[in-house]
Symmetry: C2
């Protein structure tokens, strides 16, 4: 019983597509301004929250673990990330941002103005309403 071709749903889907396209463009642009590819920026942002095993990074990015080797290699060669041994399991390598990597991740977050600039057009009440609608749409428990 999902809504199909009704004009309202089609229009909302189109709007969401526009949001997605704009978000992606701005993300890529922000990454490029910091001399990172999109994939590198995503990995660095992920690691700036907490160091992760290579395997976990692949799971978060939904790609094969073998790809992560190259991405982390490039970040490491720029001194933004380092590989640490995991004391609990010698097979595991934990990727962690260096100080420079952490501050670059911070700068990246700051320049990600998307949704902050457009959200400026909404009042606080409207933002709250949007939050609730997106939560319901995504099936996220409000609290």
């Amino acid at each position: 019983m999902t809504p199909r071709a009704d004009p309202l749903t089609v229009e909302v889907v189109g709007l969401i597509g526009t949001v997605v396209a704009r978000y992606y463009e701005e993300y890529e642009q922000a990454a490029t301004e910091h001399s990172l590819t999109g994939a590198q920026a995503r990995v660095l942002s992920l690691l700036s929250v907490e160091p992760l095993p290579m395997r976990k990074i692949a799971q978060r990015l939904k790609c094969e673990p073998s790809n992560i080797t190259g991405i982390v290699d490039r970040l490491e060669s720029r001194g933004l990330v380092e590989r640490r041994p995991d004391p609990a399991d010698r097979r595991v390598k934990l990727a962690a941002p260096t100080e420079e990597g952490a501050s670059l991740a911070q700068a990246l977050r700051t320049s990600l103005d998307f949704a902050r600039e457009p959200l400026g057009r909404l009042t606080a009440a409207e933002r709250t309403l949007l939050k609730e609608l997106l939560q319901k749409m995504l099936g996220v428990a409000p609290e």
Copy 2:
């Protein structure tokens, strides 16, 4: 005067990020199910609306025109797209979907259930509200 670190805005930005990630995953998955890459699916979808000169495709995808040559080559070698001369300008080649390409584009649209399935969780009134909020956020004229 854009809202910065207030918790509400941060939360909405996070939700939009989730929507974007989910949309992209589902788009890539739908493309893969039809043995297309994401880029090929985007080009084919674009052409299914109307045939376009190579140059225009690049503008729409925001990439260099030289990339389009290869993408259209691959679609053409699978019989999904053809290059037609433009009667008005012999430099121009119009890329257009074949019958098979058009029906594949249609199938792709149908399997893009994102936003249709999640939107099913919203009532018609809520979808209208979401539409209006997104329009205001994107600076789109309501009509």
